[in-house]
């Protein structure tokens, strides 16, 4: 018997204690904050109950960072922010300084190193996104690439606060929608049923689990060319791709058939209106890397219509609810089609059962 390899047993430390990494000013003033304001785009000023100030400078990153980028950010953190940083939910980095005089040179250092300062208040913040072609096993498109391209285009709205309220954009590389809900959600939408490699199904897929995964019961076991496989009732299939992760031989992606849909009016916050899901604005846009120009054009139209027409503090969905969907489609030059009528369970709740009509 050969000796078993010696592994180091894991120390199941779990979630680390954040206090050891937190800026000392924040450690000392937990739950002692009085108010905040924003002296300029990209900068927050938090004031404690006893009048001490903490300035936060927020900058955009590419999220998927090489060690050189991270070390550069660490250097800036050492030079200006006492060696402490934090990240936001949307992959922006924040530097905290107590001395207001450090704010301007910190902003300068970030900008000089290519990190846009902004993403606060009524801005278009960093797009939340996923892995895409870089790392995911089921993606219909890339994530970092679409985001880089869109953020180049939206850069001026990131570094300023000229929107009616904050704009949260997300991208997702499949219909599972890891990017999440957004004021604007840019999501892959498959348009063809899966293409099955029957030679592989029996060996790769747990067939009953795949049958169970289908939301419309369109998959059933079948013998194909003498081999146990699966078949799809293409009339029932909604092309959601749910069968593809548990059964990769059911290829859902195609260079031409994988399209992009844009959704609007999702909102996480409870402020004013209750949280909402995003709703379909347009489908069937081409998956046109590396710049996705058709997607970028629609995003730009929607952002501009909202910017020009919404009232201060109205989020995208609240604005559309006020002006009505007819006006939204008119202002954005998008088509309203039968595919905008929901057909899923609970669809009736999305229909207008009143005499309220926008003209």
């Amino acid at each position: 018997m050969s000796e078993k390899p010696q592994f180091r047993p894991a120390d199941e430390t779990g979630v680390p204690d954040h206090i050891q990494y937190m800026h000392p000013m924040m450690v000392a003033n937990q739950a002692n904050w009085d108010y905040h304001d924003r002296p300029r785009p990209g900068v927050l000023r938090h004031v404690t109950k006893d009048g001490k100030e903490l300035f936060t400078v927020r900058a955009g990153t590419q999220r998927q960072m090489d060690v050189y980028t991270i070390r550069k950010l660490a250097d800036i953190g050492d030079d200006f922010a006492d060696g402490h940083v934090r990240f936001t939910t949307r992959s922006n980095i924040e530097f905290m300084v107590e001395d207001e005089a450090k704010v301007a040179p910190l902003i300068e250092a970030l900008q000089a190193n290519g990190f846009p300062v902004g993403g606060t208040g009524a801005s278009v913040s960093m797009i939340s996104h996923t892995q895409g072609w870089l790392h995911c096993d089921i993606p219909g498109t890339d994530a970092s690439g679409v985001v880089k391209s869109l953020m180049d285009q939206l850069h001026h709205e990131f570094i300023d606060e000229k929107m009616p309220n904050r704009v949260r954009i997300t991208t997702s590389c499949c219909q599972i929608n890891c990017g999440g809900q957004g004021d604007i959600a840019i999501n892959v939408q498959y348009t063809k049923p899966p293409k099955i490699n029957h030679d592989l199904v029996a060996n790769v897929c747990e067939r009953p689990a795949v049958v169970a995964r289908c939301p419309v019961a369109a998959i059933r076991p079948a013998m194909v060319n003498g081999k146990p496989s699966l078949e799809v009732d293409e009339k029932k299939c909604v092309c959601c791709g749910a069968c593809y992760p548990p059964c990769p031989p059911m290829q859902i992606n195609g260079a031409e058939s994988t399209k992009i849909a844009i959704w609007v009016g999702g909102k996480h916050s409870n402020a004013r209106s209750k949280p909402t899901f995003h709703k379909l604005a347009v489908a069937n846009l081409p998956n046109n890397a590396p710049h996705w120009p058709e997607v970028a054009a629609v995003v730009s139209k929607i952002v501009n219509a909202y910017k020009n027409d919404a009232k201060h503090w109205e989020r995208m969905g609240e604005w559309i609810e006020r002006i009505g969907w007819s006006r939204f489609f008119e202002m954005t030059d998008l088509a309203f089609t039968k595919h905008h009528l929901d057909t899923w369970t609970g669809a009736r709740k999305s229909m207008n059962s009143s005499a309220h009509v926008h003209f």
Partner: protein, 428 residues
């Protein structure tokens, strides 16, 4: 290849990716090229081939990774294995696994810690790290199967642990919270660490029917998107009155104007609970207020949450697979979060929900779907929560229900009401 070996390898052509290097936003492509061009680095050939494969994806408009099974000693989850389907063309990145590592609550780091993470990842991985994935994890992306254990060992020595993957308790997220936000209504990090670290076994050895996610937001602004994305969302709130500093209200009106204040604060209150008096002081009907946070967001100096703080718990948020999108349902309108016992009570409720999920969910079913299947009353009974009108937008509209025990249920309601009012009831 060992560190220090200098082998000149030809750069993979990346004509599609090269187009993503211009423009004002930081470019991940430029970052990857910096790694590729690091002379003598063990990861340089891997990143070169990664760039090649990514460019290939851009040209073919298809992804070329497949999953598999890779883990570290003693754990069943936390690594996302990736094997290239085009390894014949790009052999150096044929294994490109990700380590999901749990971040500190609130995503705080020292620069020293970031550098140590970079050093470990240069030694064992690709040099590419994402802060953070959508699950909240630090994503150490790009590791060979052999190096996965070494990378984990060093990160673990640094005080960090793997997050969740597969049918398991997942990595949680919390907002910056009371560390820097005056709107925070509880100690988000304390609740976050308390709950996750209590159930680590469910994270590291996946045995649940499907994923289970916790998220912690200090107020209704829900900066970590808990209601849509968490099976168990903890959202800060308060029970007493909004605090008003009338002098600062007047200063706000003087600065912004009366019309602007009425348009953006009074008219936007979802329950018409606010009015502006003739002397520019503000009146709030706190019984009608739903703690939405809007007026406090606009008037950060004049208004703030009350003192009787805690959290609401909402259960069952998830995205589409497979019955459609769900937001969490309000299940605990208020848990006071002040003392150790309060946090212990929250942890115990979390435990009851995880147990209900483990016992009752079907394979690949999220708890929200289980609740839809068995009905909210059954879930509430199982986890020991009494019904509350705050759980619904409105009572049922369908008459198809058997109500022969209605009087008994009504008696329970009145008894609970009496107990809460401090009265003695017959059953005591």
């Amino acid at each position: 290849m060992k560190d220090g070996d200098s082998v000149d390898i030809e750069n993979r052509p990346t004509p599609m990716l090269d187009q993503l290097e211009d423009g004002p936003w930081p470019s991940f492509v430029t970052g990857l090229k910096r790694l590729r061009d690091t002379k003598g680095a063990s990861y340089a050939p891997m990143v070169n081939d990664l760039l090649g494969q990514l460019n290939h994806s851009y040209e073919e408009r298809m992804g070329f990774w497949k999953g598999g099974a890779v883990s570290v000693f003693g754990y069943g989850g936390g690594i996302i294995p990736r094997y290239s389907e085009v390894a014949d063309m790009f052999p150096a990145s044929k294994e490109f696994h990700t380590l999901r590592v749990m971040p500190p609550p609130g995503f705080h780091y020292t620069t020293d810690l970031l550098r140590k993470m970079c050093d470990i990842w240069e030694k064992h991985g690709s040099g590419l790290i994402a802060f953070h994935g959508q699950s909240g994890d630090i994503m150490f992306q790009g590791c060979t199967t052999e190096n996965t254990q070494h990378a984990f060992d060093e990160l673990n020595e640094l005080g960090f642990d793997l997050g969740g993957a597969g049918p398991a308790l997942r990595t949680a997220m919390s907002c910056v919270g009371q560390a820097r936000c005056e709107q925070s209504c509880f100690n988000e990090a304390k609740a976050h660490r308390g709950i996750i670290n209590r159930f680590l076994d469910e994270m590291h050895r996946p045995a649940l029917p499907y994923k289970f996610k916790f998220k912690f937001s200090g107020c209704g602004n829900d900066c970590v998107n808990a209601i849509h994305r968490a099976d168990f969302a903890v959202i800060g709130t308060w029970r007493d009155d909004i605090k008003i500093d009338q002098e600062k209200v007047k200063a706000h009106v003087a600065e912004k104007g009366r019309k602007y204040t009425i348009d953006t604060v009074v008219s936007m209150c979802p329950t018409r609970a606010i009015s502006l008096n003739d002397d520019d002081s503000m009146e709030i009907d706190n019984k009608s207020c739903v703690r939405c946070m809007h007026c406090i967001n606009v008037m950060t100096k004049a208004l703030s949450p009350g003192d009787d703080r805690g959290a609401s718990v909402m259960i069952g948020g998830k995205r589409s697979l497979k019955v459609g999108d769900m937001m969490g349902i309000m299940v605990k309108p208020f848990i006071r979060l002040d003392t150790e016992e309060d946090y212990e009570e929250l942890e115990e409720f979390a435990e009851a929900c995880i147990e209900f999920f483990a016992d009752n969910a079907l394979e690949h079913e999220r708890i929200g779907e289980t609740i839809d299947r068995v009905g909210l009353p059954t879930f509430l009974e199982e986890v020991g929560v009494e019904v509350d009108p705050n759980m619904v937008n409105h009572p049922r509209t369908s008459s198809y229900v058997r109500t022969d025990d209605f009087d008994d249920e009504a008696a329970k309601w009145f008894e609970r009401q009496a107990l809460e009012a401090g009265m003695t009831v017959a059953s005591e």
